[in-house]
Structure formats: structure tokens, C-alpha cells
């Protein structure tokens, strides 16, 4: 059973095709990394899966549960406190006991002690954790994270991925986009490679290494990022 499924997605912005027939399927508790260079179509794909943008062709099925969406830039009110932000969105989600939901999210994010702090004064990492916590308030079966680690230092990044991995461990399907090939390799149970709106690869990180080795043998002995770039060049991107 898949938590979310997309088939033959096409999205055009004027003359430009941002997505060219991309398909994706993710099961419960799966961690899927969407990687690719700038303009590959990662954010467009996640926006369509989130229901924010509509595809010109193809369809999305997420009928097995709600889809939570965490945009790349923290979508929260910086002049409100951590708790006020969570409470606002819990109320907007229509929770029966928004205070309980807020307490649960504060516990989950480990920000309980900073609940009364104005968000603008928190670090980028902590803001991102609240951003994700707001995305989780709808108790989604699928959580979409658009480049969640951008701007975070290594320590904050490690904490973030520990938190996200914990969500997947509890059965939430997590689909995240990233520029960082090593991050995708480390945390993505599955990797979807996009370039110029086209799906080049969909499989495990090990399978991707194998594909890189076979298609760009001259770079096989070098670090994985370099080898991946060579792989993209071989594929004409």
C-alpha cells in the first residue's frame, strides 16, 4: 500500500516544462530524497504533491491520509512566540484540544523550554523545527519537506535529521528535497534524481552508486558528489 502516488506529472510555466512526466510512489514510513541541480523541478514536484500547484498533466493520489507540507522558508509568524505559533495553527487545523496538540509538538521538537520565546530570536535550526512541527500538526500520513536543511550548521542539521528519522520510524512517510547528495545518500531510504524536469533515477542510494559507477566510470573512484555530477553530464544535464 502506498501513502502517496503520483503518475506522469507534467507542469509547464509558459514555454518551459518544469516537470516532464515524473512518477513517484512512497510507502508508509519511507524516507524518499528528491535530489537534482537547481531548476530540476524538485520544489515543483513537492508543491504538486502538497496540492499547492496543479499539474498540467498526470495525477496525484494521497487518499490514504493527509499530506503535511513544510516549505523551504519557514512559514510562521516571527513576532509570535513558539507556543503562539503552534497554538494558532492547531486552532486553524480545528484540533479539539489545541493546547494539548501544542504541548505534544513542543515535546516532539524539544522546544518546550523555549515555548515563550519570540520566533525571530531563535536560530534558523530551531525555526525550521517549528516549521516542521506546524507541518506535523495535521498528523499527516505523508510529510513533504522542501530543502529542510538549507542554512543550518552541521550540528543543527544532525538534530533535524534525527528528528525527521524519528518521524519516519513512527510510520510517517517523509519526502524531502535537497541539493546535498551526501545528505540524500545518508538519510534517504530511496532517492529520486531529477534534472531539467525529467526523472533520471528512482531507487536506493546503493543502486544510485551502482548507476553512477556504470554510467560515469571515469569518476567512479572519486567522491560521490563528483561522480554524481559526472553522471548527470553523461545523461546530458
Amino acid at each position: 500500500m502506498s501513502a502517496v502516488q503520483a503518475q506522469g506529472l507534467v507542469k509547464r510555466y509558459g514555454e518551459r516544462e518544469a516537470l516532464r512526466g515524473v512518477s513517484l510512489r512512497a510507502g508508509p514510513g519511507e524516507l524518499v530524497a528528491v535530489i537534482g541541480p537547481n531548476g530540476a523541478g524538485k520544489t515543483t514536484l513537492l508543491s504538486i504533491l502538497a496540492g499547492i500547484a496543479k499539474p498540467d498533466e498526470g495525477e496525484v493520489d494521497s487518499s490514504n491520509g493527509t499530506v503535511g507540507w513544510v516549505p523551504q522558508q519557514a512559514a510562521l509568524y516571527r513576532r509570535l512566540t513558539v507556543e503562539e505559533n503552534l497554538l494558532l495553527f492547531a486552532r486553524l487545523e480545528g484540533h479539539e484540544d489545541p493546547h494539548a496538540s501544542t504541548a505534544e509538538m513542543l515535546e516532539l521538537t524539544g522546544l518546550g523550554e523555549r515555548r515563550g520565546e519570540i520566533v525571530a530570536r531563535l536560530s534558523g535550526g530551531n525555526q525550521q523545527r517549528i516549521n516542521i512541527a506546524i507541518g506535523l500538526l495535521s498528523r499527516p500520513a505523508v510529510l513533504l519537506l522542501d530543502e529542510p536543511s538549507v542554512g543550518l550548521d552541521p550540528r543543527q542539521r544532525a538534530r533535524l535529521w534525527e528528528f525527521v528519522s524519528g518521524l519516519a520510524g513512527r510510520g510517517t512517510t517523509v519526502i524531502f528535497s535537497t541539493h546535498d547528495i551526501q545528505e540524500a545518500e545518508r538519510y534517504g531510504g530511496r532517492v529520486l534524481v531529477l534534472a531539467d524536469g525529467e526523472s533520471l533515477f528512482d531507487g536506493s542510494a546503493e543502486d544510485l552508486r551502482e548507476a553512477v559507477r556504470s554510467e560515469a566510470p571515469e569518476a567512479a573512484d572519486r567522491d560521490f558528489e563528483t561522480a554524481f555530477v559526472a553522471y548527470l553530464q553523461h545523461r546530458g544535464h
Binding site: G51, R79, L88, L92
Partner: protein, 452 residues
């Protein structure tokens, strides 16, 4: 709609966290209101006035048997105002009614004869006729000021002549002499001679001196009659030429009520437009708009919440302002219901305009700049009375200001404050039309709101 109250609470929390913004929201409009209060008491330099001179040519003013030098009335009037010459009274009236001119000044054909009568035993009341359209208080005050200034100089010159004539009559009473009336010469004894006679008869009052005493009695009667003649002349000294003001159309509240309405409308406009446009743009800057409209709140509900916020805050600020002003200028609290209606309707239309602005500009800084750039000139243009500028320019001003809610809001609030206002129905309908138009524009603009 369940989300609207939480969004409203959130926006109020944000406002509370920004005391500087909150203070500016209140302080700036009050500052502007004070400046406008000073400005509205000053009119333009050369208002357009229709001028009709019905006095026959070559008629000269003659006071006390002496002709005044021929005065070029046309030049004297037209150096103070921009004269629009008309052929008859009906043309003058139609120009005033249409707002083409600020007022009409009519010099009637009998004006000079009546001025000449001032030095006679039967002085008339020379009048000039002024036609005005008191569609707003500034205009009414402006006309009064201009006409008063215009006539003051003429009155002063004539008053000097009449004063001399009055002095001659009084001299006759005191010193005696001859007075001609209807071609007959009447000797006047005078108080001085009378005193002398009395002195003569005082030592003894035998019956033989009775005729002399009768003479004194006769003089007393003459003196009383002469003083009666002098009295109306002296009365006319204050203002030899009177103004007969005819209100052709329109009615206006007192200037101080109008000034309060201007200040209240300016406050409301700035608070509502800035708050609604700014808070809507803030949703985008905080990246919250896509998250909110992804099933939590519809775009229409979000717009409604922002407009509700603007109306609520605008209502509180404007009512506080009116309550503060009521300490200095008595306001009719019996019309409080109409105040509320006018402020809420105005706030809604201004809020819709603010929403359209916020959705179109999308960035808080741009929104703030645009709000000032649009609201201030529109507010000032809305205060320009018809006739103060040329007809083509005024038409342009009229159509431009009709596209923004400030002018109908001003009319509605003026009507709410005073029964002599322009009537509240028309402005409310105008505000309703603008509300619908701007709300539709805002909704359209939101389609591209989240795009980079």
C-alpha cells in the same frame, strides 16, 4: 470562517508586539489631521466668481452733493478673483449650481441710486447679491471670506462720505443754518442760538416773552426730527452696502464640524489602508500565505479577516479621536448610530482598497510607500471645492476622487456628524460599490500573491 477569529487574534498579538507601529498608526494620522485642519481654513488665491454688472454705464456715485471719482468696479473685483462674466442672472445661477464657479456676484441696476440715497433724508439699503452653492463647509467659508474682503474697501470709501454728511446734519443742529427739502428752505435755529435765547429770557419770564419760548419749543421738535434723519445714516456707516446671500443649492455643516470630519476620515483612511495592506503583505513575507490557503483558510476568508481587522481597529481609533475632539467642539451624540454606520461603511471600503493594494504590492515596504503615495494626494484632492479650479481640472479631480473611497467616506462621516451634511444615502451607496469593486480586485490579485 472558524479560522478568521484566530487569525484576527494573531494579528492583534503581532500589533501588540510592535508598539512603535501601533503608535505610528495613531500618531501619524493625527499629525496629518492637524495639518489639514490648518490648511482647510485657507482657500486658493484666485477663486472663479461669476460677475454680473447690471448698473447702467456712466452712473456715478454722488454722496452729499459730491461725485466720487468713476470707479472701475470690474477691475477692482477682478483683481481679487478670477471673473467669469455672465450676461444675466439665470446664467450666473446655473454656473453656481454646476460648480463651474465658486459664487456669483451680482451688482443690481439700482445699486448706485441706493448708494446715492444714503446722504438723503430717506436713505435706502444698497445691496449686492451673492449666489453660492454651499455644498461643503470650506466652500461656504471661502465665499464669505472673499465677498467680505471684496466689499470692505468699497464700504470704507462710502462710509467716509456718509460720515461727513452725518456730521453736516449734526452741525446744523448744533450751530443752526438753512436746510433745503423739496425745494423749500427751512431755517434751523440751532442749539447754540437756542441757548442764547434762553439765557436772555431767563431773568424774567413775563407773558410777553412767550413767543420766544415757543420758538425754543419749535426748535426742540426740529432737533428731534433732524436727529431721526441722522440715525439711519449713522447706522449705515457700519456697512453702507449690504450683501444679500442666496444659497442656490447644497447645504453644509459648520466649518468646525467639517474639519473634524476631515480629521476623522484621514485617520480612518490611514489606519485602515495601512493596516489591511500591511498585514496582508506580511502574510506573504512570512511565507504563511500558501500554508494558510492550503486548506486552513480560504483566500476569501483571509481577505475578509484583514478587512475586519481594519474596520475594527479603524472604528476604535476614529471613535477615540471623535470623543477627544468632542471635548473642544460639541458633537451631536444623538447621531451616534449614524457615526457608527458611516465609519463602518467607510472602513469596509477603505479596507477593501487596502486589501487590493496589499495583494498587488505584496511587500510590506512597498505597500506602506504606496499607501502614503495614494492616500495623501487623494485626500487633499477630495477637499478641493468646485469653482476653486478650472472646470476641466475639477472634472478630472471629481472623477479621480470618485474612484477611491476617501471622498464618499468624508461625505458619509460629515453627514453622520451633522444633519446639515450632504445626506448619507448617496455616499453609503458609493462606498458599497467601491467595496465590491476593490474586494473583487483584491481577490483577483491574490491569485498571483504567493508567486515570487
Amino acid at each position: 470562517m472558524r479560522g478568521v477569529r484566530w487569525l484576527l487574534l494573531k494579528d492583534l498579538q503581532i500589533l501588540r508586539r510592535s508598539p512603535l507601529q501601533a503608535v505610528l498608526l495613531v500618531a501619524y494620522p493625527i499629525l496629518i489631521a492637524v495639518l489639514v485642519g490648518f490648511a482647510i481654513s485657507r482657500g486658493p488665491e484666485d477663486p472663479r466668481v461669476a460677475f454680473l454688472n447690471e448698473v447702467p454705464p456712466d452712473t456715478r456715485i454722488n454722496v452729499g452733493g459730491e461725485e466720487l471719482p468713476k470707479a472701475n468696479v470690474k477691475d477692482q473685483v477682478c483683481e481679487r478673483v478670477e471673473c467669469v462674466f455672465v450676461d444675466d442672472r439665470s446664467e450666473a445661477m446655473s454656473k453656481v449650481e454646476s460648480g463651474d464657479v465658486l459664487a456669483a456676484l451680482i451688482l443690481p441696476s439700482n445699486l448706485v441710486n441706493k448708494i446715492n440715497s444714503l446722504s438723503t433724508l430717506t436713505p435706502g439699503v444698497p445691496e449686492v447679491e451673492v449666489l453660492v452653492n454651499e455644498e461643503n463647509a470650506v466652500k461656504a467659508e471661502l465665499v464669505d471670506d472673499r465677498i467680505t474682503t471684496l466689499l470692505a474697501e468699497a464700504n470704507l470709501r462710502i462710509a467716509r462720505r456718509i460720515g461727513n454728511e452725518g456730521g453736516r446734519y449734526l452741525g446744523l443742529i448744533v450751530n443752526g443754518g438753512k436746510f433745503e427739502v423739496l425745494g423749500e428752505t427751512i431755517p434751523i435755529l440751532g442749539l447754540r442760538t437756542s441757548a442764547r435765547i434762553l439765557e436772555q429770557v431767563a431773568p424774567a419770564l413775563p407773558p410777553a416773552l412767550r413767543p420766544a419760548l415757543e420758538e425754543v419749543t419749535e426748535f426742540a421738535s426740529q432737533a428731534r426730527d433732524n436727529l431721526d434723519v441722522a440715525k439711519p445714516l449713522i447706522d449705515r456707516l457700519a456697512q453702507p452696502i449690504a450683501v444679500d446671500k442666496v444659497v442656490v443649492g447644497g447645504k453644509s455643516p459648520p466649518l468646525e464640524i467639517f474639519a473634524i470630519a476631515v480629521a476623522a476620515t484621514l485617520t480612518l483612511a490611514f489606519v485602515v489602508v495601512l493596516l489591511v495592506a500591511g498585514s496582508l503583505a506580511l502574510e506573504r513575507e512570512e511565507n504563511a500565505f500558501p500554508r494558510l490557503t492550503r486548506g486552513l483558510v480560504s483566500s476569501t476568508a483571509l481577505l475578509g479577516e484583514k478587512m475586519l481587522l481594519g474596520v475594527a481597529v479603524g472604528l476604535v481609533v476614529t471613535l477615540l479621536m471623535l470623543a477627544g475632539m468632542a471635548i473642544f467642539v460639541p458633537l451631536d451624540w444623538g447621531r451616534f448610530g449614524l457615526w457608527l454606520l458611516a465609519i463602518v461603511a467607510s472602513g469596509a471600503a477603505l479596507g477593501a482598497a487596502g486589501a487590493a493594494l496589499g495583494a498587488a504590492a505584496r511587500e510590506v515596504r512597498a505597500v506602506a510607500l504606496l499607501a502614503f503615495m495614494i492616500t495623501l494626494p487623494i485626500a487633499f484632492l477630495s477637499l478641493v471645492p468646485s469653482g476653486a479650479v478650472g472646470p476641466a481640472v475639477f472634472d478630472l479631480i471629481r472623477y479621480t476622487t470618485a474612484l477611491f473611497p476617501f471622498k464618499p467616506a468624508l461625505e458619509a462621516i460629515t453627514s453622520g456628524l451633522d444633519e446639515a451634511g450632504p445626506g448619507i444615502g448617496g455616499p453609503l451607496l458609493h462606498l458599497a460599490v467601491l467595496f465590491c469593486a476593490y474586494a473583487a480586485l483584491a481577490r483577483l490579485a491574490l491569485r498571483r500573491f504567493a508567486a515570487v
